[in-house]
């Protein structure tokens, strides 16, 4: 693993610009491929040298606003007048019978728990953990912010992310990845795992898009994401993923898109100070002022900070702590209020690769994922990190050591 390189990069970064860690993206040798990050849920390829680079002010296009021409067309244009009510009811029944009631009875308010896939035949055997294995991540929805306290009485905020109806859709082995995606993924030894969240009505989608879900036997999903995994961490299509895939106290990477602020001026977008409200200032209270110098290169340079669209960017948060897990509703409590996006927006979460994350023994994490139906003891409803106060405990009292 290039953990030592990461460590040195992180130290460099932290010395200079620790505050900007949230704005950084891990940009490897494929920095020239601007759309790479926005497409991939988690680009965990650390083939060469790794640098933490600010993408603000650079010309890398990070806001993807159109679908790729290689993707199959997703939505089907429905004309409800084509069908009579009876025919529509019949179609609904067919769908219901094909996939089963559990798929459509899942609701976040109930438990968010996925059901177990009907695929009985074992296609992929479960692998064993080795050092430097990479396991899959999950897709979750940010549901809000909640304060927690530690046992010393210090308050912190936590962001709640609910892992809703996740199923593994496909596994693509490394050879096929190399053949199809070529120079994009420099690491030759990782495969691609496609995961989907939140089952929906198949009548909304085109036939070719539905083919993606044939292998796993689950209905089409609202949200899909890719995770690069080592071959020993591959999962059977249709395997459900739960919040207990992670462990309390673990560090994770959170990848999602930020709140869309729309077209914003230079003060909000870049943090410019503006100009005084009075004292003779003419029509320039929130403007940017000077845009450059003169001389040989007398022009506005590319990447100059100007007003424009702010937000709705893909960003990655590294090294976030999970301090609590609720297994009944499949909710992860991530320390801090930094998880990007509005309440209800999707994020993908996977294990952190930072060197400080290696304080937790990776071999203790459920590999390749957690199978709750196989656990011998009943799973507790809540898991708390060691120093976190559980509200069921008595009030915090400090002992007089005299």
């Amino acid at each position: 693993m290039t953990s030592s390189l990461l460590a040195s990069a992180l130290r460099h970064f932290q010395n200079g610009r620790s505050i900007l860690l949230q704005n950084a993206s891990v940009v490897g040798p494929m920095s020239n491929l601007g759309n790479f990050q926005s497409l991939n849920g988690n680009n965990t390829t650390f083939g060469g040298s790794v640098t933490f680079v600010q993408t603000r002010g650079s010309r890398v296009k990070t806001r993807l606003t159109h679908p790729r021409n290689t993707w199959p067309k997703r939505r089907r244009e429905r004309n409800d007048q084509e069908l009579t009510a009876d025919n529509q009811a019949f179609l609904n029944k067919v769908v219901y019978d094909k996939y089963g009631p559990a798929h459509f009875d899942w609701r976040a308010e109930n438990t968010g728990m996925p059901f177990i896939s009907p695929l009985k035949q074992i296609i992929y055997e479960r692998g064993e953990w080795e050092p430097r294995s990479i396991r899959t991540g999950v897709i979750g929805r940010k549901i809000g912010i909640h304060p927690m306290w530690d046992k010393d009485g210090n308050r912190m905020l936590t962001t709640l992310v609910q892992v809703t109806d996740n199923h593994v859709l496909k596994y693509i082995p490394p050879e096929t990845v190399e053949k199809n995606y070529g120079p994009r993924f420099k690491r030759k030894d990782v495969g691609l795992l496609l995961v989907g969240a939140e089952s929906t009505d198949p009548q909304r989608f085109t036939k070719e898009y539905l083919n993606v879900f044939d292998e796993s036997g689950v209905p089409p999903k609202t949200k899909t994401a890719r995770f690069m995994v080592t071959p020993n961490a591959k999962l059977q299509p249709g395997t459900p993923l739960y919040a207990t895939h992670f462990k309390v106290g673990q560090r994770v990477e959170v990848f999602g898109h930020t709140v869309d602020h729309g077209f914003q001026g230079v003060m909000k977008r870049w943090g410019f100070k503006g100009m005084p409200a009075s004292h003779g200032v003419t029509k320039s209270h929130r403007r940017g002022g000077n845009t450059g110098g003169g001389g040989e290169k007398a022009r506005v340079w590319p990447g100059t900070k100007l007003p424009g669209h702010m937000g709705n960017r893909w960003r990655k948060l590294l090294g976030q702590h999970i301090i609590r897990i609720n297994t009944k509703y499949n909710v992860l409590y991530i320390r801090g209020h930094a998880v990007m996006g509005e309440v209800g927006s999707f994020v993908t979460i996977c294990d952190s690769f930072l060197s400080c994350a290696e304080e937790m023994d990776k071999s203790t994490l459920p590999f390749p994922t957690h199978y709750p139906e196989e656990s011998e003891e009943p799973i507790p409803e809540e898991y708390y990190a060691p120093n976190i106060y559980n509200f069921a405990d008595p009030s915090i009292v400090f002992e007089d050591k005299r």
Binding site: A108, E109, G112, I143, G144, H146, P147, W149, G153, R155, L160, Q162, N326, Y329, V331, E342, V343, G344, Y389, N390, F391, A392, D393, P394, S395, I396, V397, F398, E399, D400
Partner: protein, 305 residues
């Protein structure tokens, strides 16, 4: 009838003492399409709200979520309520309102005896769920002190209500510009106990503020608990301009704005759903925690300020 009074009136936490006149008639809100038990009932259901759960929204206001739709999520609200009940099983949080006098004991690492007690009048209550905050004010050594406490902070060892009463206003921030006598309460104040059947008294006191300058333009706020001295402060032309400004800004028409009221409150059906979920546990907690307190005595007459 046909008024969803439970949803519209008393938008402030003080309840009926701050009664607004926006008692408009609202139909069953047509965009409320979730499956609830009560979706078909109209008039009988309104009386059920008023009988069973009407007082809950005053006694346990933090159980109602923030009405802002952007931040609402049912799963998170459920989890918050579970946490709140767990915390309440370890700490008896009494019923109190803005204007009540409370005594709060905290665990403090740096204090002698490792505990810290503060007594003060509650000047405001903010926040929902676990982020609910109340602020206590008192005058200590001639200095006004306000402390904001998280209601569900685990270092709080005890909250007791020394005098339970309401005031005419939603918050008492104007006490900062009032003479010290209105904010001074002795730290060794004896709790005034009252019998359960007596409704919470409303203190109709009208505070006389100090001469200006003030920390805020209190004469522009519609404060009922402050002695009206706007004639002494504003010129007649200022008064006329202020009346026009109030109308233009919508202060006068706010009481007729039903959509504003709807957006800033939780609908009655949802309130009932929420309190239905928690009322049994709250009742059990009330019974078990109050057993530990001493017996009630009669209400003693106290010297007024």
């Amino acid at each position: 009838m046909g008024t969803y009074a439970g949803c519209v009136r008393s938008m402030n936490r003080n309840g009926p003492s701050g009664f607004t006149e926006a008692d408009g008639t609202i139909e069953n809100s047509s965009n409320y399409e979730r499956e609830t038990k009560s979706s078909c009932q109209k008039y009988p259901y309104v009386s059920a709200i008023e009988e069973n759960f009407a007082p809950f929204r005053f006694v346990y206001p933090e159980f109602l979520p923030d009405p802002n739709i952007k931040w609402r999520n049912r799963v998170r609200e459920k989890l918050e309520r579970m946490d709140m009940l767990k915390r309440r099983s370890n700490l008896d949080i009494p019923e109190f309102y803005v204007g009540s006098i409370l005594s709060v004991t905290l665990s403090d690492r740096n204090a002698p005896g490792k505990t810290n007690t503060f007594v003060g009048i509650c000047i405001q209550r903010e926040g929902t769920a676990m982020r609910s905050i109340f602020t206590l004010r008192n005058i200590v050594d001639g200095h006004g002190v306000e402390i904001a406490y998280d209601l569900y902070n685990p270092t709080i060892l005890n909250i007791s209500c020394l005098r339970l009463e309401k005031r005419l206003d939603e918050n008492l921030r104007y006490l900062r510009d009032a003479p010290a006598q209105y904010s001074t309460f002795p730290f060794d104040m004896v709790p005034e106990l009252r019998s359960a059947n007596v409704p919470v008294p409303v203190n109709p006191i009208k505070v006389k503020l100090n001469p200006r300058p003030w920390s805020a333009k209190w004469h522009l706020w519609d404060l009922k608990g402050v002695e009206d001295s706007s004639e002494q402060i504003l010129e007649p032309w200022e008064m006329r301009r202020f009346d026009r400004w109030k109308f233009a800004e919508g202060f006068v028409t706010t009481k007729y704005d039903l959509m504003r009221a709807y957006r800033s409150t939780i609908p009655a059906e949802e309130q009932t759903e929420i309190y239905n979920e928690v009322h049994q546990q709250l009742a059990n907690l009330f019974a078990s925690l109050r057993k530990q307190k001493r017996k009630r005595t009669f209400l003693k007459p106290q010297k007024t300020v």
